[in-house]
């Protein structure tokens, strides 16, 4: 009797075509590299490899500015949407995106993203939301959920002491200039596939000139949450995922 090799179902390139190197120094179990893979595959699949300019914020994902094989501008913490505005106004035929974290977009740069959305600026903002400043070592951000323990909310986020989280996608969806707003996740394979479809729609919105698009991706940060690596996805579903709920929040595209 011969033993059959298990059938393999390739779901993508091992190394996305828009990556110069597969090496990175992010933590085991980090969700950010998965979200970045979704972004890179989307750009390639939409034929945007040689017509895209990215603007990168400051957080753990900044390490990818060295390896993404895409023309990039490194922005300051929080300032990527304005930089992207200047890029897009001078290069209107190119796809322009920002890559930001929750600390970058919702804390330091909230005003930037709000006004960029309100202006209907034809760019796509990609938010990696892990509810924590990962890079600085696990501090509370504007998206940290009630009860979440961080180094600056040691007994859990208390609304009386720390205030309430900002549910950024829902906030942006209310602005007339926002054409496509969606929240995905990289919690499991199904969520990844759904998020990929959202990422496509976000860039299709920009290509059609419909206005501002934002795709928020919930990403695991076991290090900044102080949970074992393997528990990251489960913890995310039970905490962040309950407040920042996955789904399309606004679209002018067919569902």
């Amino acid at each position: 009797m011969t033993v059959e090799e298990p059938a393999m179902h390739p779901v993508g390139d091992k190394l996305p075509s828009l990556l110069q190197s597969g090496e990175h120094d992010l933590c085991p179990g980090c969700g950010e590299p998965v979200a970045i893979r979704i972004l890179l595959e989307t750009l390639a699949e939409l034929g945007l490899s040689t017509s895209t300019i990215g603007v990168v914020g400051i957080g753990c994902y900044t390490a990818f500015a060295r390896t993404l094989d895409v023309d990039l501008v490194q922005a300051l913490h929080g300032r990527a949407p304005s930089v992207a505005t200047g890029v897009k106004r001078m290069q209107p035929t190119k796809a322009v995106f920002t890559l930001q974290g929750d600390g970058d977009m919702v804390n330091e740069g909230l005003q930037e993203v709000l006004h960029t959305a309100a202006r209907g600026e034809n760019v796509t903002c990609v938010l990696l939301n892990n509810g924590v400043f990962g890079e600085t070592g696990g501090h509370m951000t504007a998206t940290s959920v009630l009860g979440q323990r961080t180094k600056t909310s040691l007994d859990g986020r208390d609304p009386d002491y720390h205030g309430y989280p900002i549910v950024i996608g829902d906030l942006l969806a209310q602005l007339d200039g926002a054409a496509y707003i969606a929240r995905g996740s990289v919690q499991n394979a199904g969520a990844v596939a759904r998020t990929k479809r959202m990422m496509h729609k976000a860039f299709e919105t920009q290509l059609a000139g419909e206005g501002f698009s934002m795709i928020e991706v919930l990403t695991m940060c076991p290090t900044g949450w102080f949970v074992p690596t393997a528990e990251g996805p489960g913890y995310m579903g039970e905490t962040l995922g309950q407040v920042h709920v996955m789904g399309e929040l606004k679209t002018r595209r067919p569902k």
Partner: protein, 359 residues
């Protein structure tokens, strides 16, 4: 040559556009507001863009993005608004992007901000200080040229008088030769080629094309700044050779000082002047050689005494340096105060000589 009567704000916007500036972002604040208004009116007509940014932080960020694509781009405000831009000013310098910024200042209290910077790290901006609208038209165009030549920000230091008075000027494009090739600019075409670009203040480069790193980038910029300091100082002087006393002043007040010195000469007083045109790099050699052998060096500026530090550094004790300027503004805080007056300035110079400043 066709001269038109124009306010400084309009003339400077036209000069910028004649230099090829195609992007401007700003946030209204007196006396900078009219510069923004003129860009908003004139840029779309040449296919450019002017954004009424939501704050000064965003204005400088937008200019940063436009510059990264290789466009000539500018922002501006008063010193107050520029205070908000300082983080970006520092990092744009490290990213070696050719920003032009306008400070339509409220008085002359921003000398330290412009020349020392309120931002972090080792950086300098070339600072050009026109004395009138005609010179502002030329220096605005020089600003875009120098920014591209050195890949370093250039600040044009204006004020209320420059913004809000009119002069007959000719805004013809100055020919500085071809704009340097911007092989560093991003247009999106590099993706997937293995040689895509990254514009960064951190010297990171890409895996395939590593940059110099943070230390290397900072070192390279510091060395470039030394070269700029050697190459770009500019100053104008008059009545220096046989003078016993020297007056140093910059910007629009320097034109008043120049006139006052001329009047004192008619009275037989041996006074000369030096007018720094670049505040950074400070024309220290020009000031030092003009000051050599003088009985005194007088500094007139409309603040509590800022440029006087650079004058002292240039003169290095070879002549006594005395402050004859001061804080001076109207009730609004941004207009012209009582000190900006030829009679007052002439009296202060004469008084300083009478009181035996050499002591």
């Amino acid at each position: 040559m066709t001269k038109r009567l124009m306010e400084g704000s309009e003339a400077m916007a036209e000069a910028a556009i004649a230099s090829g500036c195609r992007f401007f972002a700003g946030y209204p604040m007196t006396p900078f507001t009219e510069l923004l208004e003129n860009f908003a009116e004139k840029l779309p007509a040449v296919g450019g863009v002017c954004v009424n940014a939501e704050s000064e932080l965003e204005a400088v960020g937008m200019a940063w993005g436009a510059l990264a694509t290789g466009a000539r781009a500018a922002t501006g405000s008063t010193g107050q608004g520029l205070s908000l831009m300082q983080e970006s000013f520092s990092e744009i310098t490290l990213a070696e992007l050719p920003l032009v910024a306008f400070n339509m200042a409220r008085g002359q209290g921003d000398y330290f901000q412009s020349t020392r910077g309120g931002g972090h790290g080792d950086y300098r901006h070339i600072v050009l200080a026109p004395m009138d609208i005609t010179e502002a038209v030329g220096l605005t165009q020089l600003a875009f040229h120098l920014a591209d030549r050195w890949r370093n920000p250039v600040l044009v230091q204006g004020d209320y008088l420059l913004a809000h008075t009119a002069e007959g000027v000719d805004v013809a494009a100055v020919d500085f030769g071809p704009v340097p090739e911007k092989e560093w600019a991003v247009d999106g075409s590099g993706g997937g080629s293995g040689s895509s670009k990254v514009i960064s203040p951190l010297g990171i480069g890409k895996s395939n094309t590593p940059g110099p790193g943070i230390e290397g980038q900072q070192q390279a910029v510091a060395e470039k700044l030394v070269r700029i300091a050697g190459a770009e100082p500019r100053a104008e002087s008059g009545f220096v050779d046989d003078a016993d006393h020297l007056v140093v002043a910059f910007g629009t007040p320097a034109k008043f000082v120049r006139y006052a010195v001329g009047r004192l000469r008619e009275k037989g007083l041996r006074v000369g002047y030096v007018r720094p045109i670049t505040l950074w790099p400070f024309p220290g050699d020009a000031v030092a050689s003009a000051a050599a052998g003088k009985q005194s060096v007088l500094v007139f500026e409309l603040n509590a005494g800022q440029m006087i530090d650079d004058v002292r550094l240039a003169v290095l004790g070879s002549a006594p340096v005395r402050f004859i300027g001061g804080i001076s503004t109207d009730h609004s805080g941004f207009g012209v105060g009582a000190l900006l007056d030829v009679e007052v300035i002439a009296d202060r110079i004469e008084g300083a000589l009478d009181s035996g400043v050499a002591a």
